[in-house]
Amino acid sequence: MTKWDYDGPILEIDNLSISFFTRLREIPAVMDFSCTVQPGEAMGLVGESGCGKSTVALGVMRDLGKNGRIVGGSIKFKGRDLTTMTEEELREIRGSQIAMIYQEPMASLNPAMKIGQQLMEVPMIHEGVSKAEAYKRALEVVTDVRLPDPERMLKSYPHQLSGGQQQRIVIAMALMTKPALLILDEPTTALDVTVEAAVVDLVKDLGKKYGTSMLFISHNLGLVLETCNRLCVMYSGEAVETGSIKDVFDKMRHPYTQALFRSIPLPGADKNSRPLVAIPGNFPLPHERPPGCNFGPRCDYFEAGRCDAQEITMAPVEGQDRHDTRCLKFTEIDWNAPPEVAAKQEKTAVGEVVLRMEDLRKYYEVSANALFGGGDTKVVKANETLSFEAREGETLAIVGESGCGKSTFAKVLMGLETATAGTIMLYDNEIQSTPIESRNTETVSGVQMVFQNPFDTLNPSMTVGRQIIRALEIFGEGKTDADRRERMLELLDLVKLPRAFADRMPRQLSGGQKQRVGIARAFAGGAKIVVADEPVSALDVSVQAAVTDLLMEIQRKNKTTLLFISHDLSIVRYLSDRVMVMYLGHVVELGTTDQVFAPPYHPYTEALLSAVPIADTRVKKKHIVLEGEIPSAMNPPPGCPFQTRCRWKSKVPGNLCETEVPPVRRLGNGHQVKCHLSDADFASMEPVIEVAAE
């Protein structure tokens, strides 16, 4: 079968319904879903986890597994219905006409085959070309995805490449046969922000170059804004709104879309004056969907007897280009009404210095052989000359990508590791060389941590109550079991969970609820300093706002110092008082939030700001793409750690950047930057993010 010519839309999905069949019941995953992708168009599919966006993609590939089935509707690819094709025909189309890119690059590549072989296989199978021709093409696409030294790449195994390089290879593989449709399922979620920005940039360019249509699945509205022409917002198995990016972002006509935009930290949001508005309630489970509008129970505009009385269909919005919404009341709602402003909070007063780090260093020695020692020992410098102080009631954000040493820093602070050099002062105690076993209970309970992954943070085989009580026992809170139980219930109140949850197992809780339990546990001993390691990054957008607000509220109440580790600059800008940017173990910039988010920047901060996708059409960003990968901490570059990717390097005379670690430059008011650039260069920097006037 060859590629046939067809003038109409590449992909037409019409009233598609997909269900999964389990032992107990049928679970509808996608209901009445329609969308059209025109040639060369990029369609974004946005929604929270469990809304069925990946199921749509798998449905298009007809790869639903044993218990998934298309129960209604049609999927037309270039005019031919995929739902009725035989396995044979599908095999022809998959990989050659429709290609898919998955989230986890390592899992998409065969670890036992060389990159070259895996790439060459594609045209050899689909088009029966010769080996030499296939090699030539492989070389061509690897060059196209901007990988250095393509020939060496083809000879290497997947594990020898970094995550970003692997994802580029996966993209190359998808492009080998010049498919008409490319499905990308969260292609950059597993990557770092600056690497993500480069990959997104690449996908956009390749889409243009090859004329490929794209179905881009993501939970990140900002990313969709940057990559797509049109988007489709999904909620609980249904498309709730679809239209061009501009219409949906600026003139949304569905309450869910509106709520979604109000719950993400856009520029201008502020924890004190303009707090985020969390969507109340929880995402309904597929078998517990409400009658009528699925979003009804969480909607501000809900009207009983109307919204829950009938099945709601998509209705076109007049006067706009293919803009549809699944809302009965969209003509009645005043879409320009500003959100109800929650009570404004006073900015918390910042108190005494509670934590001071001076010149902290943490080196690891990695030896080759565990049993007999010996071999080469390598020194990994995880933290280099870390100095800062944090005050009572303050939120200090620590920003950086993987390998920047932020986790090591947390470990040293918690006492899981001891520092190699330098001092950590907690109030008046030096704790840098006291491991956690020798710390007193007060110190241990005073410094606690909230973890990143909600699915990992609770022990799956212990009840929620038991886990909090255990923390209370360890911290010596309460005299009797009854005391501790009472205290535990109070903690559940504090994090706004019903008391009945005490006897639940973690698997019965949603991600956001688990994270709340994690927060309750951290505050069990009245923690003074809480290290929050990306506490919301694994949560869905609508839940993020609620958990963030909870953290802020507890902080205000307890005057806790919050060390907020994150790579997401939008949320950092929203909630932090001061920001510390780290790169390869060095603090490259430190200052108040306003100082860090405005020029002059450290070149890395500048790139990071540019890389973070912002879901706002009014925002104009300067386009800075970092070349290359983050160097390994095992083998850091000489001189300035950032010199390998810095775009300002040419401004510094001589080879200063390559030979000398830059000194810490104080720019006034506590703003410090580690860079060789001259004052004139700093003055010439332009802001990366500009919000156009409304």
């Binding site: 269900s19 069949f21 710390r439 990143q452 609770l458």
Partner: protein, 475 residues
């Protein structure tokens, strides 16, 4: 009294059984052959949420296989049920055995009906009843457990009673005094093969799970720290485990039972060490959790030390051996030296493998955030290992436990077969097979019966493990 035939008055059913079996075979072959050519079975989803497949010759063969299989099972059940209903001996050997096993059938039916009705409330055990394979395996295992429990009611004659006339007599031979039959014939000493097989199950069911449990205790107490601490401790322990695994097992057993070695007390000393592990395990388990509440901790640990210690001392102290210090008055029980050897060897052989599994799972689980959370709130290592890591490793461990009971059963058989471990007149299956193999050409039944029993128990355990694994993976 007459010699019993296999099916007695029910022999009219035999041709039906044969035909059904033959047809089933043909249908299966047909199904396999057509599966190569048949088109996509065209599966459609019905609006009520079920799935229906229809399709040609393949579907036909599939249905034929299903119905013939059901017919076969029904006929087999008919033999058993008729045997229970009809008077003893009328329904042949099969019927008579079925009648003797009546308490087992009743117990099995009660267990299955109860478990099946409450399966949604019974956790992983309840989930087992969603998997056919698991149910079959569980049924086979429980069959032997109940047989062991009711063995005194089931047997027809004493385990050691010999009747000279019935030496090597075929199954169904009547007793000379006319009071009954040797249902599965007599062995080379004129003992009842059926009764010995039934009694043998008691020994297997008593020893195998217990010995495996000890192996698990040892494996877990060593595997957890190896995985958790890693580094040199891990390297040394793993090396030792590999060393033991590399040592030929049979040679080890021979060494252990050599009289010279037994008199040095080596097996006993090994027992002293190995049986200490469960005690240490319990103490550490309780201490790590309750050290924050000292009074409660002290009471619990005192109870464990006194009770467990007493059991432990009774177990290792045996009069007239090198380790004999408890006065007779407070020595609770004496384990025969040969059973002690069986225990020691089973633990010795199995614990390195368990060690490896536990170590591997620990390596995985210790990277989880809840382990870090425990570390950052200052929990001690043993609490983390025993209360945070171990409960979450239970899935694979339960599955492996089932499989390992199977291995241990075979190991017991092997030990018995070589005349190691248990006494020669013991009715355990291994020894019986060994005794029976000498006359295999003249009278195969004394060896075949216990061999089939062993096979069905091990098969049952394997199926059970499969079922558990399958169900524990599902949601």
């Amino acid at each position: 009294m007459d010699m019993l035939t296999w099916t007695g008055a029910l022999s009219a059913l035999n041709p039906v059984l044969m035909i059904a079996a033959g047809l089933l075979l043909i249908a299966v072959v047909l199904q396999i052959l057509t599966s190569f050519f048949a088109a996509d079975p065209g599966i459609t989803a019905n609006p009520d949420g079920t799935v229906a497949a229809q399709g040609g010759i393949y579907g036909l063969a599939e249905r034929a296989v299903r119905w013939l299989f059901i017919a076969l099972v029904v006929i087999c059940l008919a033999y058993l049920v008729a045997g229970i209903v009809m008077p003893m001996g009328k329904a042949g050997i099969v019927g008579a055995i079925s009648k003797r096993l009546l308490p087992v059938w009743i117990a099995l039916i009660v267990l299955f009906v109860l478990s099946f009705n409450f399966r949604r409330k019974l956790g992983l055990y309840g989930k087992l009843f969603d998997s056919t394979i698991g149910m079959i395996g569980f049924g086979m295992v429980m069959f032997w457990v109940f047989t062991a429990l009711f063995s005194n009611q089931i047997i027809t004659s004493g385990v050691l009673d010999q009747i000279a006339q019935l030496k090597n007599k075929a199954p169904g031979s009547p007793l000379p005094d006319g009071t009954g039959w040797y249902l599965l014939g007599g062995d080379h000493l004129g003992r009842d093969v059926f009764s010995r097989m039934i009694k043998g199950s008691l020994i297997v069911i008593e020893i195998a799970p217990l010995a495996t449990l000890f192996a698990f205790m040892v494996g877990i107490t060593l595997g957890l720290p190896a995985g958790y601490y890693g580094g040199r401790l891990d390297a040394v322990l793993s090396f030792l485990a590999n060393l033991i695994l590399a040592f030929p097992v049979i040679l080890l057993f021979y060494l252990l039972v050599t009289p010279e070695i037994v008199t040095t007390g080596l097996p006993q000393f090994m027992a002293v060490v190995l049986f200490l592990f469960p005690l240490i395990f319990m103490i550490v388990l309780l201490n790590s959790r309750y050290y924050v509440q000292p009074t409660r901790r002290n009471i619990m640990i005192a109870a464990v030390v006194i009770l467990g210690g007493w059991l432990y001392l009774s177990l290792i102290s045996t009069p007239d051996t090198r380790i004999s210090f408890l006065p007779k008055a407070i020595d609770l029980f004496n384990v025969p030296a040969n059973i002690l050897i069986v225990f020691v060897s089973v633990v010795f052989v199995n614990s390195p493998t368990v060690f490896r599994i536990v170590r591997g799972i620990t390596l995985d689980i210790k990277t989880r955030d809840y382990v870090s959370a425990a570390q950052t709130r200052g929990e001690r290592p043993w609490y983390i290992m025993l209360w945070e890591i171990l409960p979450n490793a239970r899935g694979p461990l339960i599955v492996d436990f089932c499989l390992r009971i199977g291995y241990t059963t075979i190991l017991l058989g092997t030990l018995g077969f070589f005349g190691l471990g248990l006494s020669p007149e013991s009715p355990d299956w291994g020894s019986t097979i060994n005794a029976g193999r000498k006359l295999l050409t003249i009278a195969p039944h004394p060896a075949i019966v216990p061999a089939l029993a062993l096979l069905s128990l091990v098969l049952g355990l394997n199926l059970l493990a499969d079922g558990l694994r399958e169900e524990s993976l599902k949601d």
